[in-house]
Symmetry: C2
Subunit: 304 residues, 2 copies
């Protein structure tokens, strides 16, 4: 059976369950033990937020969720770095890349005011807005995924086919769930406008300015992200002018910057370009270092 | 004074005015006659929807708005093609490309149930979701801009600077309005997932698959757009797998396809590639022709 994304019929948001077995029987979260349901290839369809991860942050509509791996089976303590290639982590990354909705189940625990008092509760669909690594409270690299609750209008079945549209028979396996969602948010502001104007929409990584009709298109990329959990500021020193492709690469750590503004390919470690600069556009290397640290967290810092 | 984008202080949504002069004095829409306020360089800050354009469609939260130009000054009838380079049209295109919010004022007229009974009303901020050309009811090319009302949560001032963030003095002219908005929506569905899987995230135009960590990123591009005014279906035959850059180009008509699936650069008319195909991925040329017609509308079709 293909993995089911989206709401499960008969299980409205707010449904409660006495045990993980009941959650499983309802089809809301299938694994009985694991907190993350999913694979690298399919994506993650559901998670359980049930405490015990000291780096988790639960703000209700925003959850900063710790990935899995590297914990001692007996003590539950972090004893090794987490890997992004671990199935649950790679599944959350796939859900991020493809804009797949993730069912969130909260279990009773003391760390969050948003948790139920007893048992488990289905709290609706979230999207994986971003992810990043950091050295966690226990001294090892952890991956953290920021999930934001989807509003009802972001979840819809596709529009009906217009009468004049000729639809050929489907050639693929039928879709298990038809969920339409908002995937990629590009925030804009006057600050972003300044940066784009300085660079005349030329990508600071590759030099491309996408031309359409009478104008050019570019995107403002915040170096240290806005909002939870990064709290970066919307100031010119924290914004790059990028083409959409390099924006995706930058936001996902496929490229990062050195303090002297060289562009590094994270997969190979090779310098691929010098960042294009403009005399009026100061870039604050504090933010550059913050971004880089998310993607270059290596050996545990408290090891001998 | 720089052009002001976003709400005007003291003019809440729903404010009414007896005349265009009152609308102007309130700072909501400055031109006394023109329906579009803006320039190619700055973008469009406001429009007036007041009837008289037979191709306008007003659905309340969605407006399909006709551009300007080519009308007889005496009769008001369309006598020539509209040009995308006309200031108001180029301004709306810039607002689309930069995600700038547009103030919408409705004037009393009989064509729309959403118009006020008398005078003018400020109806809030809209974003320019898309634009396209077509041969209008009067037989000449018109440009049409689809505007969607922004929800309050899409309009916000930037987050406060975190205490630990070091902010250098601003190097640019101060921002007239700090508006953060949602700019670029990439819709996702099971149909899109199929298409991406067939192409293994390789862009059907340029062959690039953007690699991040453990996976690849691509976007599903609907050939005939979803929703107003295109009503394209969410079926595999209507979806391409594209990199973000080519998605922007395709959605803005900088590239289009021939019926034998050659990729044409709209600026030069030159064939730049053969579309990459997959044996399981049928593409319906009805949708290809629909998309192409939006960007290649030339000589009026009812001319001798």
């Amino acid at each position: 059976m293909p993995r089911s994304f989206g709401h499960i019929a008969g299980q409205p948001v707010g449904s409660t369950y006495g045990s993980r077995k009941e959650v499983r029987d309802a089809g809301v979260h299938l694994p009985l033990i694991a907190g993350i349901s999913g694979t690298a290839a399919e994506g993650t369809d559901s998670i359980v937020v049930s405490g015990g991860y000291p780096d988790d942050e639960d703000y209700g509509d925003v959850i900063v969720y710790t990935g899995h791996g590297g914990r001692d089976a007996n003590t539950g303590k972090q004893i090794r770095d987490q890997e992004i290639s671990a199935p649950g982590n790679a599944g959350l990354l796939r859900s991020h890349l493809d804009g797949l909705p993730v069912r969130v189940v909260r279990g009773a625990h003391k760390d969050s005011p948003h948790a139920p008092n007893v048992g488990y509760r289905y709290d609706g669909l979230y999207q994986v807005d971003s992810y990043a690594a950091k050295v966690g409270i226990e001294g090892y690299r952890i991956w953290r995924f920021t999930l934001t609750k989807l509003k009802d209008e972001q979840i819809s079945t596709p529009p009906a086919v217009a009468p004049q549209a000729v639809v050929h028979p489907r050639v693929a396996n039928p879709a298990p769930v038809l969920t339409t969602t908002v995937q990629r948010l590009v925030r804009n502001s006057s600050v972003v406008q300044h940066v784009k104007a300085w660079h005349e929409h030329q990508c600071q990584v590759c030099g491309l300015a996408i031309q359409v009709a009478t104008g050019f298109y570019s995107e403002g990329a915040h170096i240290r992200g806005l909002g939870q959990p990064h709290h970066g500021p919307d100031v010119e020193e924290n914004v790059l002018c990028l083409c959409p492709n390099d924006h995706v690469r930058f936001d996902n750590g496929a490229i990062y910057l050195t303090d002297d503004l060289k562009v590094i390919d994270a997969l190979t470690g090779v310098t691929i370009a010098a960042l294009r600069v403009h005399p009026l556009h100061q870039i604050n290397v504090t933010y550059v270092a913050y971004h880089r640290a998310q993607w270059t967290v290596g050996t545990p810092r408290n090891e001998p």
